[in-house]
Amino acid sequence: MGQRLFICGVFLGFSLVLQFLKTGFQIVGEDQNGVYTGYNVSAWRTENKLLLIPVFTFSDNLAKQLSRKVRVLCWVMTAPQYLKTRTQHVRATWAQHCNAVLYMSSETSDFPTVGLNVSEGRDQLYWKTIRALQYIHTHHLHTADWFLKADDDTFVVMENLRRFLCRQDTEQPVYFGHRFRVFIKQGYMSGGAGYVLSREALRRFIQGFSSGRCTHTSSVEDLALGQCMETMGVKAGDSRDEEQREAFNPFRPDQHLLNPGTKKPTFEYSYYPKIRGPGCCSDFAISFHYIRPEQMYELQYYTYHLHPFGYKYRFNPQCNFFSNSITNYSINF
């Protein structure tokens, strides 16, 4: 009997170790920021046949960790007639990466959309923005840390937005986007490229309207919002990357990447020096505008799927968002 047990033991021990070597295990630790970092022991290599070297590859939870640390509420400006033709493709692609998403329309629906007390039309756009921000302030002030506005033809890469926002403080009165230099002293953010407000910026916008310091000045919603921001002391921030390339882009990728690209006059509105050609846009671009449904999926494919296998990217900014020290460990099989 003892012998049989012994033999069973041999087999069991053998297969357990074999399994361990094949599949590896994970070490997950929590650092002082309360953020998980993980290491996978996923393979072993024998350089020298006497040594067994476990190989640590960083777990790809970095994007997930960031989404826990930097929560963004996305609100998408849309209208009933665009739900099937545009908004559903937004919902199927980038909106899934938001912590929370609200579709703002003139009518409530099962899409689901939030029905604001406005009618549709270009002249109503700023009313829509005002009502939308009031709704968010009333119901969602603490649902997220940052509040992103996008159109139903804007494409956003949320992970890159979080990468940028991670270094910012949401209790400061600041907002970011593609900065224009015209009409307002500190400039204002392009509506189509998307803009993101800190919590304090949102509070001040609402205070502006309730105190009467901000009013409906124009139907050009990004300009009008920019005026209120300046009035209430909310700073227009710089969202360019480490190489001074824009992250929020008010046009399509081809319109920025080609030289000459677009001839639209608003192209010349930019606050920072405008670059045409490949230097235009950050590798970690946050948004593009005028994106039709087919292009939404195309950009989704380029961003999240198609990649050159093994390619070492040229632009590798050394960003230490999280401290490298790990305080508590747990091991998961």
Binding site: F6, V10, F309, G310
Partner: protein, 317 residues
Amino acid sequence: MLSEGSSFLKGMVLGGVFCLILSLLGTFSPGITSQTEQHLHHHLKPLSKEELQKLSENQMSEVTQQVQVYCVIMVTPKILVYWATANDTWSKHCDRSVFYSSESAKALEAVDLQEQDEWARLRKALLHAYENAGGLRWFFIARPTTFAIIENLKYLVLVKDPSEPFYIGHVQKSGELEYVEYESGIVLSYEALKRLVGMFKDESKCPERAHALWKVSEEKQLATCLKYSGVFAENGEDAQGKELFNKKTVGMLISDSMVQNPNDVVEACCSDMAITFSGMNPSQMQVMMYGVYRLRPYGHNFHDSLTFLPPKGSDND
């Protein structure tokens, strides 16, 4: 009871130690299985991630450096802007890229083949490539509107032996003949090219000028010549069976997918490690360059397990 328990435990420890020893001695490392039988199949897939991880660091860097691609790009002076764009974008990732033209043009830096006939031009280009291969062992043939991601091509052929005949791409069938579609790019190993060049001398089986009443396309003539020398077409696909070589643009494939798979457009459309797209105009190529080599979401790690460095003298990747 106690003694039984302890003998069980002893057994476990012994088993575990035995396993470790075996693995240390390397007898357990499956290494790279012989690939010679695989290219008789018609579907060619890259190594899986598990197989990749079994390579040691030395093997990995050896293999990565050995896979070198000579790009044969067929152009004509009429479409100068396509040549210029290919030159400025994807072809920089080839270890050597050579443009072969039908006639000379001042602005073009190309090998002037002085040949208008498509098939004769292809023959001359391939002969030139073979004679000037240097140490390069893989050949990729492209049309002017094709965009190729060379890193993914290298991954596909990573541990395949170029002294075996390989003829890879998107395979089509015409009667009994299986051929690789020209438009979506053709991959030849050194051995395949060597046999082809040998077959060029045989005017009856592989004529330079077709004598038939109707003109047979170059892709089929190529396939015929290769078939006579014992080289057969293989379809390049990924682990899920998705096509790696595409004759359409990304936009067209996405549009098709929106109709056929509206609930899962991107997943159903195209491979993550696609090698070619075709029918692309120059501005689409510039956008693709950015989309492939630069645009990415921060914090996503693909765990690719090997490294290809970016080429020198390039500013849009």
